[in-house]
Amino acid sequence: MNEKYIRRLIALVEESEIESLEVSHWGRKIKITQRINGQSAAPAFVQPVVQREVSAQPASAPSPTAAQEKPPVADTSKLVAVKSPMVGTFYAAPAPDADPYVSLNERIRVSQVVCIVEAMKLMNEIESEVAGRVVEILAENAQPVEFGQTLFLIDPE
């Protein structure tokens, strides 16, 4: 059970929705767990970033899994929401074949355009009020959005 093998197992877990995977191989055991935080009860506007925490430890040195679980890396309370100022349609890109204004994890500047909200053919370029990293995109391209709906969460820097 070499490092490469363990890495592959971690990747498998990360790609999947399963919470934990236990593998034994020639008497050595490995358990990989991941936690997907806060998906259930939290309403959209306070929904924290989906965080996958993968911890792998050999069974020969068993320690309680809980102890290995670190608190979420980002402090979700300081995330800044970019909200829709009107009812309309959300567009992630300036044209259907163009790249989106911003993508996940991208660093953005103050006043950088992050999307368009359109209503009655009026195009409203939405700008970020803070500089930071895009940690979540909560609207889908070409889908309707409501007044005050959170479109992006920005981790300010």
Partner: protein
């Protein structure tokens, strides 16, 4: 000798003095005195005005205005313009990528409300989502207006409809009974598109910083001026009027009507225009398909509501639609 910019400046002032409808002659010596310029400079300025394609009759001692060129310039727009706000600051260009882009830049740097940007030709005229708006030189009116209403951003989308209405009213003066608006803001003559509107908003969460209303009107296009793929769906004022149309006069009337609609919008949104919106609608009573992103729904247009939304009846239920691409299935 004057520098180029000083000469143009003098020519502008001179033009304002002699630009009359009455065919009055102006004494050169008197002009030289009142404009505080040498007789030679006055001669150069007259030469400059002629180069702008104005028709002037010059004698040894006087000058007379004969005709204005078929071009959209600040002097002509300002001459006899009956507005208080819109068109009081004018930026005219020969050929630009997009008047909206320039207007947005001017608005960002503090240009006052009512500032307009015009161009004879747009090389990259934009429709929505980067679609190209075909704008050959000298035929159309390409115009962007900067507005700064004290309204909530939520109230801005109706301005798109307000502009379409102003345009429909303007064109109806030329072609009564032939003008329709295809919701929300395409203006049609006898069912073919003759004008398009692109409105852009800059706002924070509470208030509007500015709205740029961009308008492209096919005025003096002949059928052969349209590329083949547009011929079945596009038309111009000239094609329907069967004669050339004075673009400056049309533009001036549009600015007057737009200003009137805008004053109303600022106090009561589309409330007073609701009746007219219904009258101009090309869609009421039609069976349409509405495309929004990947979704497509079909229904019957039953009305336009007081906010300018499309009232679409889908399976017996009426919904107010504010976004999407409408295609008529059956009239």
């Amino acid at each position: 000798m004057l520098t180029n910019s000083k000469l143009e400046n003098l020519a502008d002032q001179l033009l304002l003095k002699i630009r009359t409808q009455s065919g009055k002659s102006f004494n050169l010596a008197a002009l030289s005195k009142s404009l505080k310029a040498s007789p030679d400079d006055i001669r150069s300025a007259i030469e400059q005005i002629s180069q702008w394609n104005y028709g002037l009759q010059t004698g040894s001692r006087d000058v007379k205005f004969i005709s204005a060129p078929d071009s959209i310039n600040a002097t002509e727009i300002g001459y006899g313009l009956k507005t208080k706000l819109i068109g009081r600051h004018v930026h005219c260009y020969q050929s630009v990528k997009s008047t909206n882009d320039l207007a947005v830049r001017l608005a960002e740097t503090g240009a006052p409300e009512g500032t307009i940007v015009t161009a004879e030709q747009q090389t990259g005229g934009r429709g929505r989502f980067g679609r190209v708006w075909h704008s050959p030189p000298g035929c159309g009116v390409y115009l962007s207006v900067i507005l700064r209403p004290i309204l909530h951003p939520e109230q801005a989308p109706g301005m798109s409809i307000m502009t379409a209405l102003a345009l429909a009213e303007t064109l109806s003066e030329e072609l009564p009974g032939k003008i329709k608006i295809k919701w929300p803001n395409d203006v049609l003559i006898s069912g073919k598109k003759t004008a398009g509107i692109l409105t852009e908003l800059a706002a924070d969460h509470k208030k509007i910083s500015y709205v740029v209303v961009g308008v492209g009107i096919n005025v003096n296009h002949r059928s052969e001026d349209f590329p083949d793929e547009l011929k079945p769906i596009a038309t111009s004022v000239r094609i329907n009027l069967r004669k050339k149309c004075d673009r400056i006069a049309l533009l001036q009337r549009f600015l007057v009507i737009l200003e009137k609609e805008y004053q109303q919008y600022r106090t009561s949104l589309l409330k007073n225009s609701h009746k007219k919106l219904r009258m101009y609608s090309s869609l009421i009573g039609s069976e349409v398909s509405l495309k929004s992103g990947r979704r497509e729904i079909c229904g019957t247009v039953v009305d336009i509501d007081a906010n300018g939304a499309l009232m679409l009846e889908i399976d017996g239920q009426v919904r107010a639609i504010t976004s999407g691409e409408v295609t008529v299935i059956k009239r």
